[in-house]
Symmetry: C2
């Protein structure tokens, strides 16, 4: 990695941190300059515009999501075990971490960008759409392997799984409910149980 | 209503509209002045600070949620019909409407405020907590009436119901998935069915 690339990576990582608490719209080049102790003109040379900065931040977060969630999920045995891995890795991802102290950047960005047409919105929506589709594909695998019944709707299952994660995020991060994780796991078990074939 | 109160109400309604698309943090007194064609100093006389403006906007939205969702819910017959009413009214509330073109202001505000300690965050969290508790109380009513089994956990049920609405909001507003509403209703039916007592 060249020195320029390393600097750029360090700045973007800091920008992801800031955006996870202050939002993508709250992430200004001025604020990032303060936080990285760089000059605004130095940052402008790297990012040119606020939209370009938002896109770089999203791309960084999408790559991190791939490494933290998608890759371990695809490495797990197919069908139900893979869905369980997806769920656990997703919870870990969405919790406060050093890299994203404000929780899941995608949830923050979804609320902000859903009304802002443009490249950043499209990038986010594509990434979320791909993940939902992956969950449906894994659900289809669970049906093929006989873990789930034939009449399970994979797209609906992905929708329901996403709902558990979103409810957990709000219950945990806004309401600070100590039972958030217990509820998320109980909801997962209920959803999986509802998809199982009848025991013979 | 005095002329002053009417003006104030009109300004706050406009502020709710703006905040639903641009966020509470994006709602500045400058931007509101532009949009209402009032002077910034005139608005400062009404709201004093950005935090005060955010609080007034949240209070307005909480009152609207009470009228649009909570009151019709409490007017419905107890137990499962009341839960169905809550769900339908909640979906109506969270969709794009003239008063909130950016969808549910609370979802927008949750993402923004979960990392911002202060009076606005507490007001929002209290309101969301009360609603979740109301859903648990209604679920308890469904158990008492024999609509649901005795072993249903009302807090978990409220968590699951909230997950469906949140997943619908993201699927509908960010992904623009035309099946969002179909999925939300199928998920509701599956959740209700999972709570029913075994047919004798």
């Amino acid at each position: 990695m060249s020195k320029g690339t390393a600097t750029r990576e360090r700045i973007i990582a800091r920008a992801v941190e800031l955006a996870s608490t202050d939002g993508l719209n709250g992430l200004t080049i001025g604020r990032l300059a303060e936080s990285t102790e760089m000059s605004k003109s130095g940052l402008f040379a790297h990012f040119h515009s606020k939209e370009e900065l938002q896109i770089q931040v999203l791309e960084h977060a999408i790559a991190a999501f791939r490494a933290t969630v998608v890759e371990p999920t695809l490495a797990a045995p197919g069908g139900e075990p893979r869905l369980r891995t997806a769920f656990e890795r997703w919870l870990t991802w969405a919790d406060e971490r050093e890299e994203m102290p404000g929780g899941c950047l995608f949830m923050q960005a979804s609320a902000e960008l859903d009304d802002q047409p443009g490249a950043a919105r499209e990038l986010l929506a594509d990434s979320r759409r791909q993940w939902t589709e992956s969950l449906a594909v894994i659900t289809r695998g669970a049906i093929k392997r006989g873990h789930f019944r034939d009449d399970i709707d994979p797209e609906l299952f992905a929708f329901q799984l996403q709902g558990i994660i979103l409810s957990w995020h709000q219950t945990h991060r806004l309401l600070r409910d100590p039972r958030a994780s217990e509820h998320a796991h109980a909801a997962l078990e209920a959803l999986l149980a509802s998809a199982h074939p009848p025991t013979p």
